[in-house]
Assembly symmetry: C2
Homo-oligomer: 292 residues x 2
Amino acid sequence: MTQSPMTQPPTPAPDFDRETAVTRRPGGRSIYDTDLPGAWKVGMGINGGLLLSVAARALSAELGEGPTPHPHPFSISAYYLSTSTAGPATVEVDTLRRGRTVSTASASLCQPGEDGTPVERLRALATFGDLAAQDGDIRTSAKPPHLPAPEECFGTEAAPAEFKAQSPLLDRVDLRLDPACVGWAVGAPSNKGEIRGWFRLPEGRDPDPLLLLLAVDILPPVSFDLGVPGWAPTLELTAHVRAKPAPGWLRVVHSTRNFAGGYLEEDAEVWDSTDRLVAQSRQLARVRLPKK
Amino acid sequence: MTQSPMTQPPTPAPDFDRETAVTRRPGGRSIYDTDLPGAWKVGMGINGGLLLSVAARALSAELGEGPTPHPHPFSISAYYLSTSTAGPATVEVDTLRRGRTVSTASASLCQPGEDGTPVERLRALATFGDLAAQDGDIRTSAKPPHLPAPEECFGTEAAPAEFKAQSPLLDRVDLRLDPACVGWAVGAPSNKGEIRGWFRLPEGRDPDPLLLLLAVDILPPVSFDLGVPGWAPTLELTAHVRAKPAPGWLRVVHSTRNFAGGYLEEDAEVWDSTDRLVAQSRQLARVRLPKK
């Protein structure tokens, strides 16, 4: 803020930060107002990672205050209850335990229903802490993914027109999919159950713990790579944020090992530019098999 | 119940069923009474999977009733808030959404604190459904583990005396660890970050969806196999139950790929006697490194 506004116009906040902002209501209850952005729709509803980020912003505002601030999600579990729509929403935070190293809270995301009464979209439980206070010991045995350079990958501009029409959020992110995992887009899925890609915000804003919650659910459903088209609505998603990400691109790997009974487990790993595994997630999603 | 009590004495309920039983209180709120069993202690507190099973019993009682009964956990996420002790406890269930195929609820497990006011031990969110209603399509790519026969594995009677003294729950389960993963018990961990074993109830009661919630947290912490002794308290554990298990032994595999910053991700897979992957779980646990 030492630069003169005359010499450089103020940089507008990146879409992600502006469109997931929350404002605390005055009063005793911890209620945050927000406006769910239609620009992050994908298929029928708003992207699940975006909703998770909104809930986490309210949780961070609540738990990041006080004598032992816990601003960062260590673990967050979201249960999706009904389809979100663009427009006003509230997040009510209920703090369950304030601890020395971590604090735990519940968050309820609601929107007014057709008759005006609140309808719950998402309920989350989360434990927050301070990633800067973690020790530096790293014994991770997982290996970072090998991806072609971003400029050799498929950007969202290459997505099929039908897919783009259903996914306005593609304009909000800079996503580059590994060509080895995009055969499904032309009817030739690899059947390995894996999709890999680079991810960053188009404004060049560097990743932070909150953005990792968007990253874990930003790739297309891994069921596409198994030749099963159609959206896979998430029942539950749990994400662990394990470190502050370094500046630069993130690499995201989605995979599944258990597709059965009409449900799909989908794991995500997020790696930063220093090859640190900064987030892991798992979700349970419903898949509809095409009629034979 | 057609047999005469004269010819065959009634079989007592297995310890697990008796000791995780819940009783609904009369009245409008969904409060279930239970008595947390000291026999399931491990280290400082009561086993996390046992507490998850108690919460799931109350959830199943609540959501398993009605015109569209949803008796089985599809996904359950537990956040552990304080250390449980043997004795009376309540589980309060709050139903968030009753749906056609699944229902979602919150469960809060509390015990009276020193001054009598309730202290929350665990908060869970869960989506329940009917496993019998799932389709029969199975495309699981995960491979079942190879274990030596149960009689060639290490039973709990072989556990070191110090370990047994801290773990009364070893008397409640029939657990047989793969000899390849027990080097840690004699100071020679494999450092692979994996522990595998057979698991069943000693009474010969066959597994059901509820028992799978115990199974996902019944092996020793996988950090033992990384040469890090000491208990690893669970912050959060999410389990997905993916099918009704077939009768017989279960095989459980615990593994970790991300041990960093004083926290450990621990995954569990539970396989039934027909080689079906019936449950998966992931937890985030805190690990204390030995002083150098």
